[in-house]
C-alpha cells in the first residue's frame, strides 16, 4: 500500500550500497583508468595502420588506391612513387590517413586485396591540434607484422596461413626473384590496379 513500494525500492539501493563494500568485485564496476586499463577485445578496431614485413621500406601496400576509393568518409590519400623514368612504382610515396575524419569502420581492411592495411588497438591518440597532428603520414602509419600478430593473433594467423598457402612471399623476396620493371605479383589478377 502507500509507502511500501518506496521502501522496497530503497532496500534495493541499500543492498547495492552494502554490496559495494562487502563484495567489491561484483559491487563496484569502475576501472581506475590511468592505473589499470581495461584490456580490449581481440577484434576491437581503432584507426588503421600499414603492415610491412621485416624492414619498413618493403611494405605490403602497392598503392592500388582501392581503399582510398572504398573509404566512406574519404580520409585516405595516396600518391604512388615514380622511378627515374617517371614510371609508376608499386609503392606509395605518400600515404596519409586523416585520423580526425576516419570513423574506424574497417571497410579498408576488408577490401584491401594485398592484406596491407589493418585496424589497430591503440586508442590513446589525443593531440592538441586537430588539423596537422591528426594527419598521420606514411612513416607514422607503418608497423611491423609482429605488432599485428601481437594484437590480433587469430586474424593474423589466418591471414599468414592464407598468404603462405598462396606462396606470396614478402616484397623483399619478390624484388630479388623478378626484374624490377613489370612485376606481376600473383594476387593482383582479379582486378587490375586502377591507380590514379
Amino acid at each position: 500500500m502507500f509507502g511500501f513500494g518506496v521502501l522496497k525500492g530503497m532496500s534495493v539501493t541499500l543492498w547495492n550500497f552494502i554490496l559495494s563494500y562487502i563484495y567489491p568485485k561484483k559491487g563496484i564496476t569502475t576501472v581506475q583508468y590511468p592505473e589499470k586499463k581495461k584490456e580490449v577485445e581481440e577484434r576491437f578496431r581503432n584507426f588503421p595502420f600499414l603492415v610491412y614485413d621485416g624492414t619498413p621500406d618493403n611494405m605490403r601496400c602497392v598503392a592500388c588506391d582501392i581503399c582510398a576509393k572504398e573509404c566512406p568518409p574519404k580520409c585516405i590519400y595516396i600518391i604512388p612513387e615514380k622511378d627515374a623514368q617517371g614510371r609508376i612504382q608499386k609503392k606509395p610515396a605518400t600515404f596519409d590517413i586523416d585520423y580526425a575524419i576516419c570513423m574506424n569502420c574497417g571497410i579498408c581492411e576488408e577490401v584491401c586485396p594485398f592484406d596491407a592495411i589493418f585496424m589497430d588497438h591503440e586508442y590513446e591518440l589525443s593531440e592538441y591540434d586537430r588539423l596537422s597532428d591528426l594527419m598521420y603520414p606514411k612513416e607514422k602509419l607503418l608497423k611491423p607484422v609482429e605488432h599485428f600478430m601481437k594484437i590480433r593473433p587469430t586474424d593474423c594467423g589466418a591471414i599468414e596461413a592464407q598468404r603462405a598457402a598462396k606462396g606470396i612471399k614478402g616484397r623483399a623476396a619478390q624484388v630479388q626473384s623478378a626484374p624490377a620493371a613489370t612485376v606481376k605479383p600473383a594476387e593482383t589478377q582479379q582486378n587490375p590496379p586502377a591507380n590514379a
Binding site: 500500500m1 518506496v6 541499500l14 559495494s20 569502475t30
Partner: protein, 382 residues
C-alpha cells in the same frame, strides 16, 4: 567518560579563566559569546563541505562506483578543491537581472541557515544559546530562507527560475504547517519549548521515537524537514530535469556556492533537530554526548542522501496534495494520541496510545486510498 563528555565546555571555561586575569569582566562575557559564534561559524561551513563529500561518496557507492577518490586519500580534499573552483569561477550576473535582489539573495539565504545552529544542543551544556523558545526560534528562522529563495528567483529575471521560485514558495508555505503540527506533541509532553529541556526529558534512553505517537511524528517531521530543505523527493524548486536549476539557474561562482552551502547547512540543521526532538539529542550510553549527537545527525543525513539516490521527484500538485491531504491531518490526529498518552498512567498509556495510533493509521490509509495509484494489468497477445 565525564571529562571527554564536556571537553569543549571545559576548553571554553579554560580560555575564559585565562582571559579573566587581565581583561575587564564585561569583555569576558563578550569573548564567551564570540567563542560560541566562531565555533558555529567554523562548524557550519565545514559540515557543509564534508556533507557534499559524504553525499557524493554514498550516492556513488549506491550506484556501484567509488565516488571522489582522486583528490586526497579517500577524496577527502575534494570539498576544498570544489571550494577553490567555486571561488575562481566567473560570477555572471544576467544583464536584465534586478542587480540588488540578485546580489542580496545568496547573502540572505545563508543567514537563517547559520542562525539556526545556535539553538541545536550539540552536547551536554553545549547548546550555544539556551533560549526558552528555542524550538519556535528554529522554525521561525527557517521560514526566512523562503523569502531569500524567492528573491533569488525573482531577481534573475529568467523564466525557469521564476517557475522554480513559485514552486519553492508554494512548497515551503505548505510544508511549514505540518512541520509545526508534528512538533506540537513533543512540546505537549516536555512542557517547554527549549531544545535543551526537550533533550533532558528524553535522558536515560526514554527517547520519544519509542512512543507510539513519537515514531509517526518523527516520520512526518523528517519528511517535512526534507521538503523544507528542497531535497529529493521534494526538490522541485531546483528540479534539474524540468526547470534546469530552478531558482539558482542564473547563479555561478561563489553565489551559487552560497546557495549550495545554505541548502546543506539547513539539511544538517534539520537532521540535528530531528535527532534532538525524537532520538534523544546527545543522550547515549558510552560515547561522549557530542559524539552521540553527531552520530544521530549523520544517520539522518544518510537517510536524506539515501532518498536522493533512490527516489524520483514528485510533481507540484502531488507535492501539495501530499502535504495538505496526508501529512497535516496525520500530524493533527497525532496530537490527540500524544495527549492521550500523556494523560494516562504509565503502563496503560502505551496500549491505549498504540491502539489510537493504529486507528489513525487506518483512517489515513483509507482516506488516501482513493487517489493513490492502482495496480495495472497487461494482456499478452501473440
Amino acid at each position: 567518560m565525564e571529562a571527554s563528555d564536556t571537553i569543549f565546555v571545559a576548553f571554553k571555561k579554560a580560555i575564559l579563566g585565562f582571559l579573566q586575569g587581565f581583561l575587564p569582566d564585561w569583555t569576558v562575557v563578550i569573548v564567551s559569546i564570540l567563542i560560541s559564534i566562531t565555533a558555529i561559524a567554523i562548524f557550519g561551513p565545514v559540515t557543509m563541505m564534508y556533507l557534499t563529500w559524504l553525499e557524493r561518496k554514498v550516492v556513488g557507492r549506491i550506484q556501484n562506483r567509488y565516488g571522489p577518490n582522486r583528490v586526497g586519500i579517500f577524496g577527502l580534499l575534494q570539498p576544498i578543491a570544489d571550494g577553490v573552483k567555486m571561488l575562481t569561477k566567473e560570477d555572471i550576473v544576467p544583464q536584465a537581472a534586478d542587480k540588488v535582489t540578485h546580489f542580496l539573495a545568496p547573502v540572505i539565504v545563508v543567514i537563517p541557515a547559520l542562525l539556526v545552529f545556535s539553538v541545536l544542543p550539540f552536547g551536554k551544556g553545549m547548546a550555544a544559546v539556551n533560549l526558552n523558545v528555542g524550538l519556535l526560534f528554529f522554525l521561525a528562522i527557517s521560514t526566512m530562507s523562503t523569502i531569500a529563495i524567492f528573491m533569488g528567483s525573482w531577481g534573475s529575471r529568467n523564466k525557469f527560475s521564476l517557475l522554480g521560485g513559485m514552486r519553492a514558495v508554494a512548497q515551503m508555505v505548505s510544508y511549514e504547517i505540518p512541520m509545526v503540527m508534528s512538533v506540537v506533541p513533543v512540546i505537549l509532553v516536555t512542557g517547554s519549548l527549549s531544545t535543551v529541556s526537550i533533550v533532558e526529558a528524553q535522558l536515560g534512553g526514554k527517547w520519544f521515537v519509542f512512543t507510539p505517537w513519537g515514531f509517526f511524528a518523527a516520520i512526518v517531521f523528517f519528511l517535512c524537514g526534507v521538503a523544507e530543505v528542497n531535497r529529493t523527493p521534494f526538490d522541485l524548486p531546483e528540479g534539474e530535469s524540468e526547470i534546469i536549476a530552478g531558482f539558482h539557474t542564473e547563479y555561478s561562482g561563489m553565489k551559487f556556492a552560497l546557495f549550495y552551502m545554505a541548502e546543506f547547512m539547513s539539511a544538517f540543521a534539520i537532521s540535528g533537530l530531528t535527532a534532538t526532538l525524537f532520538f534523544g539529542g546527545w543522550d547515549g550510553p558510552f560515547l561522549p554526548s557530542w559524539v552521540w549527537f553527531l552520530i544521530k545527525a549523520y544517520a539522518m543525513i544518510f537517510i536524506m542522501i539515501w532518498f536522493r539516490g533512490t527516489l524520483p521527484r514528485l510533481r507540484v500538485d502531488q507535492l501539495m496534495g501530499f502535504a495538505w491531504k496526508l501529512l497535516l491531518p496525520f500530524a493533527l490526529l497525532n496530537i490527540f494520541v500524544a495527549a492521550l498518552w500523556q494523560l494516562l498512567p504509565a503502563p496503560k498509556n502505551l496500549i491505549v496510545a498504540g491502539a489510537a495510533e493504529a486507528v489513525v493509521l487506518v483512517v489515513i490509509f483509507v482516506a488516501a486510498r482513493k487517489d493513490s495509484p492502482q495496480k495495472r494489468t497487461y494482456i499478452f497477445a501473440d
